[in-house]
């Protein structure tokens, strides 16, 4: 494999891994802090993509904004949606055991998919890439790399850094980390756990939706797009360690590389590789790579 091919595959791995990280980060936070297994998390990714598709004409028509404006709008909508969902539905799940959470969020997936079908229909849609991002970077005489994919990686990295700063340098972040390590203790220290939960949940939804929005121009917008990413994200969370953002980051990149290079070198078992990886890691470290709260 020559250098440029290797470079491109590495860029692909990083981009895929970072996207996974965004969705998985929300999942691991919700899981780690609130103890809720949310099977419907993939649906938030889908909602983000559909927001990108649906909001674009409104934003362009009414406000004359462009791509970035649409994404900001989408972020606001998803935060509000997350806030509402936590209040209306998820807050009832905290007291229930994992099995019940699995079931109820599974039911929620069905509801989300059908509501989407009723509201927007079942067609496949494209989202226009902004012109200033639709070029390619020339690597050598034949191979180029799409600028937009670099943009995706960049945005995801930005968000990751933002999360890191919030979690390690702010009071809110401290409370979140404390909550993920020991919920009862945090509560007994007088911290308004309900508000914390709502914030965490809304953030988780917003981050996943953002991932969907930013990926929409390359992945298209279609029914069932949430399911595929959901199961891989669970693998990321479990490998990384539940409740650990650092773990989710490492695991997501790991999976990005294993999956991408696996498809090139071992295409027949490429699908299984990720699961073999998970099984091996869990048997070596039964609680994942990192502890909660890191």
């Amino acid at each position: 494999m020559d250098f440029f091919t290797f470079l491109i595959q590495t860029l692909n791995s990083v981009q895929y891994g970072l996207l996974l990280f965004l969705v998985a980060a929300g999942l691991t936070l919700i899981f780690g802090i609130m103890g809720v297994i949310n099977l419907a998390h993939g649906s938030f990714y889908m909602i983000g993509a559909y927001l990108a598709y649906g909001l674009a004409p409104i934003v362009t028509g009414m406000f004359g904004g462009g791509f970035i404006t649409t994404m900001l709008f989408g972020l606001v909508v998803s935060i509000l949606l997350g806030y509402f969902l936590e209040w209306a539905f998820y807050s009832y799940l905290y007291q229930r055991d994992h099995l019940q959470q699995v079931l109820m969020t599974y039911g929620l997936i069905l509801v989300f998919e059908e509501v989407r079908s009723i509201l927007v229909g079942d067609d496949v849609h494209g989202v226009q890439m902004p012109d200033w991002l639709s070029g390619s970077i020339q690597l050598n005489d034949v191979m180029t790399y799409p600028t937009y994919r670099v943009f995706i990686s960049g945005m995801c990295l930005l968000l990751a850094v933002g999360m890191y700063i919030v979690l390690t340098r702010t009071k809110l972040g401290m409370m979140i980390r404390a909550g993920s390590v020991n919920r009862e203790m945090t509560q007994s220290l007088g911290i308004n756990i309900q508000f914390l939960y709502r914030v965490v949940f809304a953030s988780g939804v917003a981050i996943a939706a953002f991932a969907g929005m930013v990926a929409a121009p390359v992945s298209s917008v279609y029914p069932g797009m949430g399911q595929g990413i959901l199961i891989i994200c669970f693998v990321v969370v479990v490998i990384g360690g539940i409740g650990s953002i650092k773990g989710a980051f490492v695991a997501a990149l790991l999976i990005g590389f294993v999956d991408t290079f696996g498809k090139v070198f071992l295409p027949q078992i490429a699908g299984v590789l990720v699961y073999i990886l998970m099984a091996v890691i869990l048997l070596w470290k039964p609680s994942g790579l990192f502890k909660a709260g890191s």
Partner: protein, 337 residues
């Protein structure tokens, strides 16, 4: 408490007899399918309800049983149940042994995920490699014969055969739950530390339950393959594992009859939401109804459908000292996560 199983069995027998008399061809078909899923659900009940091990990969054993049946009957002029049934059960059990031996080293939600991972592995092997014939599945061209050259081609014959298998499985599981082995499993679910302290090798008990459960799931897979004559990798998908989990929770954990009730209820719900007569244009969106029904069921009936009578009793008579049902809590998430 003891009289319930007898009443239940009696009702079961009656309804099984009623279907061929009144249900016609479609009724027999529907009942056969439901019973097969009932057997599938029973296998999971042993693991989840009895031993407290939440397995999210039961579909793998189901699918392996189904695929083994089809693969071992290609190019055979007249396949035999006497050969196909044992081999599909055996292969499913072997994979369960492999998966169990490795997964039982993890706990709680990690256990759930590892079982899912192993199921996905089996799924991808069937889906992507030449072993399984790829994503479009393979045909079972000739249905196997029972010993004594009894053909399974007629749906009535197959229906009776399936009912027979169901009762055998119920009998087997009934024996297991009442045996010392079964009570040990219950002890492990309620407090594994204590069981270990009294000298039980809990790992081997759990592994044994895992293998038996996998074998029964494989048996259900065999029946499924023979019924449809067509198998497809989606039989091993996590959706299938999820569906059977929903069935036993819907019915009520901790009781064998819960698994059967759940399988019936789930299939009935599906029929209900998909009937054009009731929903007309909205039938297209029947998933919505199913999703809401699942959410409501779990929210309002935490003990599953089996818990309904005691729930009504409480509402009518007021909260009395509830007769402690010895199979109550699900401590699957025991140590938190």
């Amino acid at each position: 408490m003891k009289k319930y199983p007898v009443i239940f069995l009696g009702c079961l027998l009656l309804s099984f007899a009623a279907i061929p008399l009144f249900g016609g061809d479609y009724g027999i078909d529907w009942m056969t399918k439901t019973i097969i899923f009932g057997i599938f659900a029973l296998s999971l009940e042993l693991l989840v309800g009895r031993t407290g091990l939440v397995c999210f990969g039961q579909a793998a054993f189901f699918g392996i049983g189904a695929y083994a049946t089809v693969i071992f009957s290609t190019d055979v002029a007249q396949p035999l149940v006497a050969f196909l049934l044992p081999i599909s059960v055996l292969l499913a059990a072997l994979y369960a042994l492999f998966v169990g031996a490795l997964s039982l080293r993890t706990k709680g939600v990690y256990f759930i995920m590892v079982t899912l991972a192993f199921a996905q592995m089996a799924y991808y092997v069937i889906h992507d490699t030449p072993i399984g014939g790829g994503t479009d599945g393979i045909y079972l061209y000739v249905k196997p014969n029972l010993p004594g050259n009894i053909s399974l081609n007629s749906s009535l014959n197959f229906y009776l055969f399936t009912v027979f298998i169901l009762f055998s499985v119920l009998g087997l599981l009934g024996l297991i739950t009442r045996s010392r082995f079964g009570r040990a499993l219950l002890g492990i679910k309620l407090n594994e530390q204590r069981m270990k302290a009294t000298g039980y090798n809990t790992y081997f008990y759990k592994l044994a339950a895992f293998v038996i459960s996998g074998a029964i799931a494989g048996l259900a897979g065999f029946l499924f393959a023979v019924k449809d004559g067509y198998v497809n990798p989606e039989l091993l998908s996590w959706h299938q594992s999820g569906a059977v989990l929903i069935m036993i929770i819907l019915g009520g954990l901790g009781h064998l009859r819960g698994a059967l009730i759940g399988a019936f209820a789930y299939n009935l719900l599906e029929e209900f939401f998909r009937s054009e007569a009731i929903f007309g244009v909205f039938t297209k969106h029947w998933h919505l109804g199913l999703g809401i029904a699942i959410i409501l069921c779990v929210a309002l009936l935490p003990k599953g459908l089996i818990g309904l009578p005691s729930l009504w009793q409480n509402k009518l008579v007021g909260k009395t000292a509830e007769t402690p049902d010895d199979n109550d809590q699900v401590s699957s998430s025991g140590s938190g996560h």
